[in-house]
């Protein structure tokens, strides 16, 4: 080989020094494998066991709460004549919203060629899948007679055949959520194959070889396979981009196509999507701040990654804020008596029964993220963690406000007296999904590489700190000299 040719290859990878490095420290390919795979080869720490057992405990409580509901019906949840959708659908929308960040990071940021996604995409996608799993439980068990759940599936049946209503947003939801789950799972797992092969090939124990051998599908790293893998990732990203936008749009149709004051709003689709991205990134922050610390991955999920995600949080939080104010303005401007009553009496009136939840939502989602206009705050781990929890509390209340304040006072004032509050079984179901989510996440963090190893290797020589440092001199060179050098190397 010739030295100039190597120089040429290094030169075409040049990235500006003004961009922060994405991988910190003096790394090479083997070091990356070591850093990311070692935590899953070591025995789990005491902290892991504590967290895992708490999650399993919550999951068991959730299963018991669901058992109570299945046996005695949705009356167990304090749902009543006007509040037919309470905590359950609130939780459903909340979890689905959280499930949006993963695909956004892995698909949309892939299409936009955002290098920083490589540090966080694997964990965010896993989070997406677990969140959608949790979300799916709520509408299924809200059916009441859950053993009839298969009625939503359109198949030639002996009941007519009576088909499901393809014009109903609730059926669109069935298709949207199941498609989203399937595609996210395929995207995530196809990306995992090469990394599982990495774990397999360095495994020293027999059971690890066996397990990762089965899980990695016999991946070998052949160039042809990589070529197809790249094509697959790109097309899946292209498919997931409109998909992720469609899913929360369709969830918003559940409300927007109805004629309930407070739901019957054309602004819902973009407003829901922005809110979903907002809460999803907040959940990614909560999880990754802990994960990077516990697994010692601060050099791959850098403060820079956290900074970038906080920028997205302040952007989407502000979009959500504009949506809230637009809604309020239209309720006044539209001069529809029912609409303005829902907004100005059931929500914005702080002395109304649920007025407090409206202001909690406004405070958490619109005001508090504005702190991220300051760089110092965006790069502060404690503030970020605290804010990520606040945002998710706020986003839960957003869904609660939308659902409950719109239906607790219906068109018949005699049914207004009922104040809806959840029972222990309804809360237990919610806690149970936390158990499910964190049980899955703890297992994921223990057995799977939480960072996409191959993708980090791919960006190392462009965005790694040590490689960037070596490129510094390129900036002082003139373009002509660079061109001449590249030409010389090429011939």
């Amino acid at each position: 080989m010739s030295g100039s040719q190597i120089q040429f290859h290094m030169a075409v990878r040049y990235e500006s020094q003004t961009r922060d490095p994405l991988v910190i420290g003096d790394k090479d390919y083997h070091q990356i494998t070591e850093d990311i795979v070692r935590p899953i080869e070591a025995n789990p720490s005491r902290l892991w066991w504590v967290g895992f057992l708490i999650s399993v405990g919550l999951l068991c409580f959730g299963i018991f709460a669901v058992y109570e509901e299945v046996v005695y019906g949705t009356g167990q949840w304090n749902l009543n004549k006007t509040v037919g959708w309470g905590w359950d659908i609130t939780n459903f929308v909340w979890w689905v919203g959280i499930g949006h960040a993963g695909t956004l990071i892995s698909a949309i940021l892939l299409l936009f060629r955002q290098g920083w996604r490589t540090g966080v995409n694997r964990a965010a996608e896993a989070m997406t899948i677990f969140a959608v799993m949790c979300a799916g439980q709520f509408p299924i068990f809200h059916m009441g007679r859950v053993w009839m759940a298969f009625f939503v599936l359109p198949y030639p049946n002996t009941r007519g055949p009576l088909w499901s209503n393809f014009n109903s947003p609730l059926l669109w939801d069935v298709f949207a959520i199941s498609t989203y789950f399937t595609v996210s799972l395929l995207f995530w797992y196809s990306g995992l194959l090469p990394d599982l092969a990495t774990v397999r090939d360095r495994a020293k124990l027999k059971w690890r070889k066996l397990m990762y051998g089965v899980l990695s599908f016999g991946w070998s790293g052949s160039t042809k396979h990589w070529q197809r893998h790249e094509a697959l990732s790109l097309v899946l990203a292209g498919l997931s981009t409109p998909l992720v936008l469609s899913v929360h749009t369709i969830v918003s149709f559940d409300f927007a196509t109805s004629v309930i004051p407070g739901w019957h709003t054309t602004i819902f689709p973009p407003y829901f999507v922005a809110g979903a991205v907002f809460s999803g990134f907040a959940m990614v922050q909560s999880l990754l701040i802990i994960t990077r610390r516990v697994l010692g991955l601060q050099e791959y999920i850098t403060i820079n990654h956290i900074d970038v995600m906080n920028k997205i949080i302040v952007l989407t939080g502000s979009i959500v804020g504009v949506a809230y104010l637009t809604e309020l303005f239209i309720a006044w401007y539209g001069q529809n008596g029912y609409e303005s009553y829902a907004f100005f009496h059931n929500r914005a009136d702080i002395f109304s029964p649920y007025g407090w939840s409206y202001y909690l939502m406004m405070g958490c989602n619109v005001l508090s993220p504005q702190i991220f206009w300051f760089k110092k705050m965006r790069r502060n781990i404690t503030v970020t963690f605290f804010m990520s929890v606040i945002v998710n509390v706020g986003m839960w209340f957003e869904r609660f406000v939308i659902i409950v304040t719109s239906i607790y006072r219906d068109y018949l004032p005699s049914s207004w007296s009922t104040y809806y509050s959840p029972t222990i079984w309804e809360v237990g179901f919610y806690l149970g999904t936390f158990g499910l989510f964190f049980t899955c996440f703890f297992l994921f963090a223990k057995f799977f590489p939480v960072i996409a190893v191959a993708e980090i290797k791919h960006i190392l020589k462009k965005s790694g700190e040590n490689y960037k440092a070596k490129m510094g001199h390129e900036e002082t060179e003139s373009a002509e000299a660079f061109y001449a050098e590249a030409q010389g190397a090429h011939h």
């Binding site: 080989m1 010739s2 190597i6 290859h9 390919y29 083997h30 494998t33 359109p154 007519g160 055949p161 088909w163 209503n165 393809f166 014009n167 947003p169 298709f175 949207a176 498609t179 399937t182 595609v183 395929l186 090469p194 990495t198 397999r200 090939d201 360095r202 495994a203 059971w207 070889k209 066996l210 990762y212 051998g213 089965v214 599908f217 016999g218 991946w219 070998s220 790293g221 052949s222 160039t223 042809k224 990589w226 070529q227 197809r228 893998h229 790249e230 094509a231 697959l232 097309v235 899946l236 498919l239 997931s240 409109p242 998909l243 469609s246 149709f253 190893v453 191959a454 993708e455 791919h458």
Partner: protein, 197 residues
Amino acid sequence: MGVKRFAVGCFDNEDVLFPAVKKVRKAGYKIHDVYTPMPIHGLDAAMGLRDTSLHTAGFIYGISGTTTALTCISWVFTIDWPLNIGGKPHFALPAWIPITFELTVLFSAVGMVLTFCYLCQLAPFVKKHHFHPRATDDLFVMVVELTPKSNESEVIGFLQNAGAIETKIEEAETGWWLGRYDKDKRPFESPNVISVQ
């Protein structure tokens, strides 16, 4: 698929690998494959591989999803059981857009992943020969196919000259078979290394 002999050259730098691939091809040797720990853009072109048609397959799966959704829903709602929903039209195309879109994406994604697994022959319990355990860690492993007429030491020498840090001759079956990786030899041990530069 019979057992063949291969010359294996391991490179630790893709910037060395690229010129080496060109050199080896120019010298008339047949590159069986290059195994890399991550995707190397342009390597497929350098090796003379044709572009994949997986995108086209994805498009075909996608439009078959669109067609399935539209034909099924319109048949159900206009012919099989025209249900009166609030007096609205039976053929309610705008209301079918969401499901049609979802099925397009679903068919395309599932079809592409299955096609990908089929083309690459990937599945649980599939086992393939590994020329070097570090090919999924930090080495770029170029495998050159040998014929009975090949001068093995010449090929090895050529690879070393091109920048390979580790070379060896290996006999291998290159297809796949059902098997498990726990029967493999211990990792990071390659007893038949000929030379380390």
